[in-house]
Symmetry: C2
Subunit: 242 residues, 2 copies
DNA sequence: AAGTGGTCTAGACCACGTC
DNA sequence: ACGTGGTCTAGACCACTTT
């Protein structure tokens, strides 16, 4: 590409794009090694340094993981350390937590206005709605409601979810080939209604965190919209600012 | 340094450290240009590429800002775009917001147990306590209480704050030479008590976001501990996950 | 010993801003 | 025209892991 044109894109950005395309196409699976920098350089016809810069950025975006002496891997939600990568809850007193998921409901329905807008679907298009409860050390802490494009998750139902031992995102990844890359969250404070209060075992109108999440896969395509209600008596939502 | 030693640190990390030291020492002031990569390479006796890698990381940490064709600058909270860099509130309907700060109280006191622990001070050591209200488009949305090490902010009082036109962090930066680099926040949901409800113009026991922040300056030294209560009827706390 | 990523160098050229 | 950061290359050597 002419470097002076207004659409100038450096080589390493193009290598990045080609690499992501290969990932999207399933050429390398989550958890597996990708070719060495030298091999990629040969394949793409650039120098190793240029591949390095592309891979550096993909590693920074948590799409790839470098391991010195071993190779570069496709990151995966299967990895226990990354299983709840997007869950920001920490215990107030600092002890470790390991959430247990209890699915409540899984139905297929037509997209409402809001869900359609967030997921980039036609209103009335097919979606899957999923509700679950998260327990921390036995205590019910989070109740979540998720909306997924029906066509992207064929065959997703209560049985599949109950049979799965692992995080939801690892299920999505290995069963449906959908990897969550990044997400945006909108956090607010709301009061617990009667239903929610019972599920979370708190008094009605207890303040809860409302966490609305839009999650994206490759190519910044939104594939999940969820809303969670977090009981923050013993836990907090952790965030790093920089 | 012997590269095989267990304390091996790559050259560019050392250059990073030296650069931060120069910043701490005030050799280059916020908003100003630092020497070119070529000059820094000569000064530190390394190649330009090594300086580049050090500067790249410092730019990623928002400590420096690169401007192609012009040079590399020390980032500043004076810059209007960075003024409220750490404030994550956005309007629900997406319109732009420009907070106005109304200082309520500024007193010197002795550090309580919690403040001392967070700021790394002796309990009973001198601190400054500061309370303020943030208004968004005329509406009171945030009430904050801050605790600062007294010795780091000599002469900070109500008058100084009221005379200042700009963000608090830009005041800290230009008047006291304290630059906030990064921060950790703990977010929870709480109910408004009577006092807070009046200040924020909401009903008593309205759910509010409790945002506790610990802010760090160079060398990961904590220099501010604050707690804010956010009214999230019309605004939300935005977060990016990756 | 061989292969991987990680660091460091030196040099060329491009894009951007200023003079 | 000049100086800045931005990209790209080629090659050397180091650190880590596996064979």
């Amino acid at each position: 590409m002419a470097k002076d044109s207004p659409t100038f894109s450096p080589l390493y950005k193009q290598i990045k794009r080609l690499t992501v395309q290969a990932l999207e196409a399933g050429e390398w699976q989550p958890g597996q090694v990708i070719p060495s920098e030298q091999d990629l350089a040969l394949r793409f016809g650039v120098s190793q340094g240029t591949v390095r810069k592309a891979v550096d950025e993909l590693a920074l975006e948590n799409i790839l993981v470098r391991k010195q002496g071993k190779g570069t891997y496709v990151s995966t939600h299967q990895d226990p350390r990354a299983a709840f990568r997007f869950l920001r809850l920490k215990a107030l007193d600092g002890h470790l937590i390991s959430p247990k998921s209890l699915p409540l409901e899984c139905i297929r329905a037509k997209a409402g206005c809001e869900a359609a807008r967030n997921l980039g679907l036609e209103p009335g298009g097919p979606i899957v709605m999923l509700r679950r409860l998260l327990r921390f050390e036995g205590k019910p802490i989070v109740i979540e409601e998720m909306y997924l494009p029906g066509e992207v998750f064929p065959g997703l139902n209560m049985e599949v979810i109950k049979d799965w031992h692992g995080s939801l995102y690892s299920l999505f990844e290995s069963r449906f080939g959908v990897r969550m890359i990044r997400a945006e969250e909108k956090v607010r404070a709301v009061a617990a209604d009667k239903t929610v209060a019972e599920l979370l075992n708190v008094a009605e109108s207890t303040p809860l965190l409302s966490v609305e999440r839009l999650a994206f896969t490759y190519g910044d395509k939104p594939v999940e919209w969820r809303r969670g209600l977090y009981s923050t008596a013993d836990y907090y939502y952790a965030n790093e600012l920089s």
